[in-house]
């Protein structure tokens, strides 16, 4: 493996202290939404409002991905007429939004979470079940 010095590699050198899982919120049905309740394990590491804002933005992005609007109806009907073969060639609306989400998470990790010793895992890597927050040992604490 090449030495890339990326954020992920550096994090793998640090020891993982704990993992927190933000579960899905099913009150609105099967749409992908995550609970915005602030987990107690993160109280010492990050500001509650900051964290809730991140989760709320993710929720808004997922809602946008699954939105039923005139555009999705047109795409759906067109796809049906071509026996859905256009899905093989075209990138779907959902996939485009997933890319946006990946970029947003990367950005949040770089700017906000990595400096605090935290790492957000993109939910798509966990089957859209949880947002996994990895808490790394705080090296600044020396005993």
């Amino acid at each position: 493996m090449a030495e890339t010095h990326s954020l992920q590699d550096m994090r793998q050198q640090a020891a993982v202290a704990a993992k927190v899982f933000i579960q899905r919120d099913y009150t609105k049905g099967t749409v992908c939404q995550f609970q915005t309740k602030f987990p107690s394990e993160l109280e010492t590491r990050i500001d509650k409002q900051q964290f809730e804002e991140t989760v709320q933005t993710l929720n808004n992005l997922y809602a946008e991905a699954e939105k039923l609007g005139s555009q999705s109806y047109v795409e759906g009907c067109l796809a049906c007429l071509t026996a859905y073969t256009i899905f093989l060639c075209m990138e779907t609306h959902y996939e485009k939004v997933l890319k946006k989400i990946a970029k947003y998470i990367q950005e949040q990790n770089d700017k906000i979470y990595a400096p605090r010793g935290l790492l957000l895992t993109d939910p798509i890597e966990r089957g859209l079940r949880v947002i996994e927050v990895t808490i790394f040992e705080d090296r600044s604490l020396t005993r």
Partner: protein, 375 residues
């Protein structure tokens, strides 16, 4: 003399041949260091009973059911139609007939293949960390030697109480409308049923393909039936091909039309076959029970089921597994747990390497709708 020389020449550090040196340990160490760094793809360690082709691009269920029969029937009946009936009908009626028939046939075959070869909405199993976290949240009073009583969690969805069940195979609470198919050994989102005719589960991602398939098949069967009857009515000769088509179409048109009608009702009320058969929302289990997922409008229900944005496949079968090196650097227990989808595959009794070849002890009874849900 020679013996003396040999004794002196023996290197004390060399392993004497008669003593059983531990070759497995040495072999493993060397293997780890010299291991070719060819990364494996995730489909190669997939825990469910699916088979993959074209390096993970195509997937089918473990048992293809009667998919070859379905495909064969469609191809043979259509073939007989084009060979025996089309020449006569083109001469006596119109040449549009083979064009319409051809178009319908292509549409049916494409949607059938899409239904069979697409990921129906399989949920990947929980990682060991997730499973441990969920276990912590459940008050586990039993010991590990017996299976504790089924765990459920209640959530409120659109003011309706819905019970979520814990899946012991996938080690997670199933999202609403998700069911575990025992034939495929996967949790499938918006599980409708496991269709042996198509050889795959029908779930969130391929329901629209399935629906289009049965509707277009109804049109095709009805069209061929109509043409064959016209042919036999207008012609004095009775070709054996036409007779066979008549028999096949007569028996299939009613069942397929019936199935299409049933699924049209399901789509309009945003129900799954699973829910309809179990009577989840029909009020059998209590009063005031309504379907919390329905938009209360037929048009919107149809659009949300058939025209919603296509959800992505969650199992990422062509993705690469993280290499073993990252496991070793990230620390002993926790690191292994974090990356151990390779090592601990779902915690079930299936070995990681022989997953696709594991013998299936369950014979598939030929029902048209299979409601396979395990604990």
């Amino acid at each position: 003399l020679k013996n003396n020389c040999e004794y002196q020449q023996i290197d004390p550090q060399a392993l004497p041949t008669p003593t059983p040196a531990p070759p497995p340990h040495h072999g493993n160490d060397r293997d780890k260091r010299e291991e070719p760094k060819r990364p494996r793809r995730k489909w190669q360690v997939f825990p469910g009973k699916n088979r993959f082709y074209c390096d993970g691009r195509i997937m089918v269920a473990r048992q293809s059911g009667v998919l070859p029969l379905t495909l064969g029937l469609i191809v043979i009946t259509s073939g007989l139609f084009f060979i025996f009936d089309c020449p006569f009908l083109v001469k006596h009626l119109t040449s549009c007939i083979p064009v319409i028939g051809g178009g319908l046939f292509v549409f049916v075959v494409i949607t059938l293949l899409q239904t069979s070869l697409t990921d129906p909405g399989i949920l990947p199993r929980a990682t060991p960390d997730e499973a441990a976290d969920i276990e912590k949240q459940i008050d586990n009073t039993g010991n590990a030697s017996y299976r504790p009583p089924p765990r459920t969690k209640e959530v409120l969805i659109n003011q309706q109480v819905v019970k979520l069940k814990y899946c012991f195979s996938c080690k997670m609470f199933r999202p609403p409308r998700t069911s575990h198919c025992s034939l495929c050994d996967n949790c499938v989102e918006r599980f409708d049923h496991h269709c042996p005719w198509v050889g795959n589960c029908v779930g969130k991602r391929n329901y629209r393909f399935f629906y289009t398939f049965i509707v277009s098949l109804s049109f095709l069967t009805a069209f061929i039936f109509g043409c064959v009857t016209t042919h036999l009515a207008l012609s004095t000769k009775n070709t054996p091909g036409s007779n066979m088509e008549l028999v096949i179409c007569f028996f299939s048109v009613w069942s397929i039309l019936g199935l299409s009608g049933f699924h049209t009702y399901l789509v309009a009320s945003n129900l799954t076959t699973n829910e309809d058969i179990k009577g989840s929302w029909s009020g059998k289990s209590g009063e005031g029970v309504t379907n919390p997922y329905s938009h209360k409008n037929i048009f919107i229900n149809c659009c949300s089921v058939l025209c919603a944005p296509m959800p992505p496949s969650l199992i990422d079968r062509r993705g690469f597994l993280p290499t073993d090196e990252s496991v070793q650097t990230a620390g002993a227990g926790i690191g292994l747990a974090a990356k151990s989808e390779i090592n601990v595959v779902g915690g079930s009794s299936q070995p990681a390497s022989g997953l696709q070849e594991s013998p299936s002890p369950v014979p598939v009874p030929p029902h048209s709708h299979q409601n396979s849900s395990s604990v």
